[in-house]
Symmetry: C2
Subunit: 341 residues, 2 copies
DNA sequence: TTTAGCACTCATTGATAGCGAGTGCTAACA
DNA sequence: TGTTAGCACTCGCTATCAATGAGTGCTAAA
């Protein structure tokens, strides 16, 4: 078991390391932090903390660096959540509420805010459209071969899907759209299947052949809503970070962050909890062994919605990151749930 | 004046420097390149080329590096445009044609292709919507306070604009949309002004108050189409580039590339020519003093359209970059001009 | 139990010397 | 007169080595 005093020393060491990114020696602690004990005592305690696995030395005559286990303890019991200033809250609200209508724009704005506030890398995924309920639907003729299908959810989110459809007049599209809408309004997108479309065909028997043609196309289009869409920002912040001033390391993380399929995996492996912090190898991706990751998922109408991820060095300012992620996550929940309609 | 032989030597030096990123010595040239002259002769010529300003030495006992003037000569008279393989052409065509309908998606795809092919940083801006002609128009109710305005050009490009509009029923929106479309079809977007909207109001006198409310909103919305929208990709390629393995340099370029207003300036300062290559300080932005930039603008129906930029180290493979930029530029011209409708 | 003192470790820094890639110059050669 | 071999010279780079100092662990005294 770890003593109260050891905990205080560990906290001091991690705080100092977060500031300086340099191995912390016993003298530094005894001088900077008013613990009322000498460097020799601290040395003894440090030796114990190392034996317990919370610290390690990069080499014999250097100070200590927190291990992943040390960070774990720090994160679990020592980090105090920062409170966000009211001006920052206003800024976030003003940028996320009322102005934005398309899911993708919302995500872009949110991911930019996260990256700006934390000065780290942010990733945001948008809710799978599946669980949302249909509130409006239009088809717009774009050219002789292309039609834009516009879906609006009851939560005020818009999604555009492009269909390839041989020459069809706009008034025909209007007719089909209206009929579809009257039948499908209020359904969740995932419940719209071939059966419900067939029903619509009956109503439109005069246009039968167009609808026949449309069914497989719609099916495909709706399937495409299953993918995870994600947005990344703040990657350049990594370059200002001491840990990644080694170009090789920076590059491998850059490549990871540019690989959409890896990020999707990352999101799929996320713990479903409201908020989670993973440190180094806990993340389970070699490219991120030197990073910590704060994740959260926001809900849409109580259902699982999208994800938020912050990636940065292990010595990130967890307090600020956690509070920012929480605040933006809650705001996104509200926006996507249509609270501000 | 520069002799034929000096030109050959200069070409060899620049080729070698492009390969190795190391100062090139006279012995290297005499061994690697079959010019049939000894290193001593080459040394004499190199001294002359340095006096003429085409080369310089980083220090006395080092080989030569091309100066900006040297690159200029190389680019102007020595670079041969590479030809793109037919498989690559097919790839580009398949990814840019037929499938994409929204201007932003098109730009994203194009910028990704450019970055992938050149292994450098690519920037693409999309045409100002102003000059396009209206082919279709719909308003879709999204929530009690929001409406989505969808504009389709005769070139098959779609643009979404969100309007804040107090509770209006969809059938009213439909009526307004239809009337607007019948009056505005074929107009260029920039020609749609308050006067033409007022005319529409007359036709819709039963809905006068809604239209009154709509006019200033539409005016704002159309004004927003004036901005330059741009997309960036391939930034991580810079990290693999020897010149920018110094983190400080990389960071300053990264920050430049993340600053949209700087990029807009860059585009506005672009020469209007079909294709242009600027080297180092010619670009006029300090952050890019160590870079070269290849730019091109593509046309939409003969009018000025959007811009394409490639940014990389001065020792980039100009031949490949030029051919890639040209090919994608032409393809974008075609797509935006609606040739593949 | 704490701490002062001390010997020990080892990364970092700075000075120094040698190496070698490259130059410019000169003199001989075609 | 242009080309080239030869040679002395320059100077950045690397390796070596000693001094420095921040840090440790251990011991013995308070």
């Amino acid at each position: 078991m770890i003593s109260e005093r050891q905990l205080k020393i560990l906290e001091a060491i991690i705080s100092d390391f977060i500031d300086t990114a340099q191995p912390v020696g016993s003298r530094t602690i005894s001088k900077k932090y008013p613990l009322g004990i000498s460097s020799a005592t601290i040395r003894n305690e440090m030796a114990d903390l190392e034996e317990l696995g919370y610290l390690f030395q990069p080499h014999t005559s250097a100070g200590r660096i927190p291990s992943d286990l040390g960070y774990r303890l720090y994160v679990d019991s020592l980090v105090r959540e920062h409170t966000i200033g009211s001006r920052d809250k206003e800024l976030i609200q003003s940028l996320l509420l009322n102005k934005i209508i398309e899911a993708s724009d919302l995500a872009k704005q949110a991911v930019k805010l996260l990256a700006d506030f934390t000065k780290l890398v942010a990733v945001v995924s948008i809710p799978k459209f599946n669980k949302c309920r249909l509130a409006n639907l239009k088809m717009v003729k774009v050219s002789d071969t292309k039609v834009l299908l516009i879906l609006v959810t009851d939560t005020g989110i818009v999604k555009n899907i492009q269909l390839s459809l041989s020459n069809t007049e706009q008034f025909v599209l209007d007719k089909i759209s209206d009929t579809m809408l009257s039948h499908l309004m209020g359904e969740t997108i995932e419940n719209i299947d071939v059966r419900s479309i067939l029903k619509i065909k009956e109503k439109l028997n005069m246009l039968g052949n167009v609808v026949d043609y449309l069914i497989p196309i719609l099916k495909d289009a709706l399937k495409s809503l299953n993918g995870t869409e994600l947005y990344v920002d703040g990657v350049s912040h990594l370059l200002s970070t001491y840990e990644f001033s080694d170009t090789e390391k920076a590059k491998s993380i850059f490549e990871f962050l540019n690989d959409e399929s890896q990020l999707v995996q990352l999101i799929e492996n996320m713990p479903p909890n409201q908020l989670s912090i993973k440190i180094g190898s806990e993340i389970g991706f070699e490219a991120l062994d030197d990073c910590s990751m704060v994740t959260s998922s926001y809900k849409v109408d109580g259902n699982s919605g999208g994800s938020i991820i912050i990636i940065g060095p292990k010595r990130m300012d967890y307090g600020t990151v956690v509070s920012t992620v929480n605040y933006i996550s809650n705001t996104l929940s509200d926006v996507f749930s249509g609270i501000y309609l």
